[in-house]
Subunit: 362 residues, 2 copies
């Protein structure tokens, strides 16, 4: 894997070696007398590149045997203790094919999502049910309004959990019903996507409830639920498509790696991220890299759908589509909600803008 390290030229070699030890045996090498540990387990500094301005790219090789197939242990070995050092950013990681296939990546990916939504040749549209605090019937009505505008995905705000003002079971029943009514009216198979929260037992209960309501897409935040929980959930519900939410993703792990690559690795079919030009600070280059990593092909895993979000507007549809291309879901929440009484019209305008878009590239 590759780390970006702040250090001066005189100390970088020692710093790189210290990271290799920290992320593998975490003890003085002088105290290791087992030759197979020294040879096979201790991390190896493979390369150091000077990036200028007292910053270095350090490539370190770790033994696959230390990871096993637990997604939590993967994070632990990639960045566990080193995350506690403020001068180190985890930039990239090469996951060997056997490990990659063991994790399995998206079970449905872009093609599966397109199939579900009977959607070809254009980008996906999505919006979010907010604000939290609304009672269940208001959320259900809002979901129906969005869906009547012809959007593809109506997802819960990630703040909606299992609060007393909108308990999970009641909420998904109301929202699923609202979206189903709209879908019958429009003829478009809009999907309602509930946000699953809690521990693995609760996540499973939520996923099973969603399935009972006829839903086949859900959202989960891997950094909140924990990588091991998401991994187990994806394995346990192979018929369901998973959309990953980036909440609590602000580690010193490059966003294109964490969200584009690692969320996909553990099975996200679509990954939500804050796009450039909204209310978050990701650069265009980060967003481009994140989207292209999510959509990667040729590594034995399915491509995942990038979902730029975080302050997007209908007015920017064209620009966003030209930037990300058609294998994208545009997720616009607050900006549609501003239309209040005219939410369905605004959602329809959004859906039309995506449908009518002619790509200037790709």
């Amino acid at each position: 894997m590759t780390y970006r390290v702040r250090a001066d030229a005189a100390s970088i070699e020692a710093r790189a070696q210290a990271i290799a030890v920290e992320q593998s045996v975490e003890m003085p090498l002088a105290a290791i007398d087992d030759p197979s540990v020294l040879e096979d387990i201790v991390g190896q500094v493979e390369a150091i590149h000077d990036l200028g301005a007292n910053t270095f790219a350090v490539r370190i090789g770790l033994a696959v045997a230390t990871v096993g197939t637990d997604a939590g242990q993967l994070l632990n070995m990639l960045f566990g203790n080193t995350s506690l050092h403020e001068d180190v950013v985890l930039v990239d990681v090469d996951i060997p094919a056997p490990l990659r296939l063991a994790f399995g990546g998206p079970r449905h990916g872009i093609a599966g999502l397109r199939h579900r939504l009977a959607l070809h040749g254009r980008a996906f549209t999505g919006s979010a049910l907010k604000p939290q605090g609304l009672p269940v019937d208001r959320l259900g009505r809002l979901a129906e309004q969005f869906a009547r505008g012809g959007l593809d995905i109506i997802k819960d705000d990630h703040g909606l959990a299992d609060q007393h003002y909108s308990p999970f079971a009641d909420r998904i029943r109301a929202c699923a019903a609202g979206v189903a009514r709209a879908a019958r009216a429009t003829g478009h198979p809009t999907r309602y996507v509930p946000s699953l929260t809690g521990n693995l037992d609760q996540l499973r209960t939520h996923a099973a409830l969603a399935r009972e309501e006829g839903l086949d897409c859900v959202m989960v935040a891997p950094m909140i639920a924990g990588f091991p929980a998401v991994q187990a959930l994806v394995r346990g519900f192979p018929d369901i498509a998973f959309i990953a939410h980036p909440s609590l993703g602000g580690l010193r792990i490059c966003p294109d790696l964490l969200i584009g690559k690692l969320f996909r690795l553990i099975g996200a079919d679509a990954v939500i991220f804050p796009s450039h030009g909204g209310r978050f600070g990701y650069s265009q280059a980060t967003c481009r890299s994140l989207a292209s990593r999510a959509r990667e092909v040729g590594d034995g895993l399915r491509p995942a759908l990038p979902v730029p979000a975080g302050g997007m507007t209908v007015a920017r549809t064209s620009e966003i589509l030209d930037f990300y291309g058609p294998d994208t879901m545009l997720l616009i929440g607050g900006n549609l909600l501003l239309a209040q009484d005219r939410i369905t019209d605004e959602a329809a305008a959004f859906a039309r803008a995506v449908a009518d878009h002619r790509f200037t590239r790709g």
Copy 2:
């Protein structure tokens, strides 16, 4: 809660308001027509203090109703999307008493750990089983060597998971047996503390295996396992004492808050952290605050035991004890392992140094 925000004086009010909205309703306020949401749910900027150098402390009040009693949702509401902003650090949070008692904090805490180890009037001693890659019998022997030196706690390295070279069930059997043999010889009830990993099912299986081996203390990394999983585990195994490992804790959440306060809140009886003066960069002030938050009394939760670690040495015993006081576990791993053939002697010297220490303060 309190955030530290980098901004200029002209923009800080708008920035503070944006954080209050992001961490609550996450949408334009103009689009909210429900008065109870505006009144009860939208986050409120309560105070802004200029800390100088374009840095501000921003205090924001959130509705308890948005959190519920899920530890994952707690993190989501405290720092979910805002963690994606590089200019914001989560510094502190006031948890109202009902919520605090719902989470429950340490089930055993310092007093419970002292009782288990029949240990009064001095600090705790601990060491770690490393390097990973060693076979089970070597780890078992090492555990016995440490324990024969009279240490209190022998824990797994946090890199030990369920790898083929030391499967969990075999490892804990060997290490528990080694420590039990030593404890019969020394008369001191040394505890072997296995590191539990994986998803909630696996964590429970591991905890049950540990209990079958007669173990009553375990270690878990909340940022790897996920807060919801740790919360469920603590509830499910009320007889077991939990030691929290800080792996992947390098979010922009102040360490004294994350490790000292939040790990304790969800039930850690002892919290491991990288102490000042070792190989990590936490300052003395951070370490002092972290330890004092872990040991907090008067908030209805039990005090948790601070465990400074990360490159500690036997030579520093006195200094570390004077800094942290007796309600502390000193955790020395690599430095003891350097003694190789003389590990038991070195462990004994460490145990003696802690037992003989006369505190210069407190």
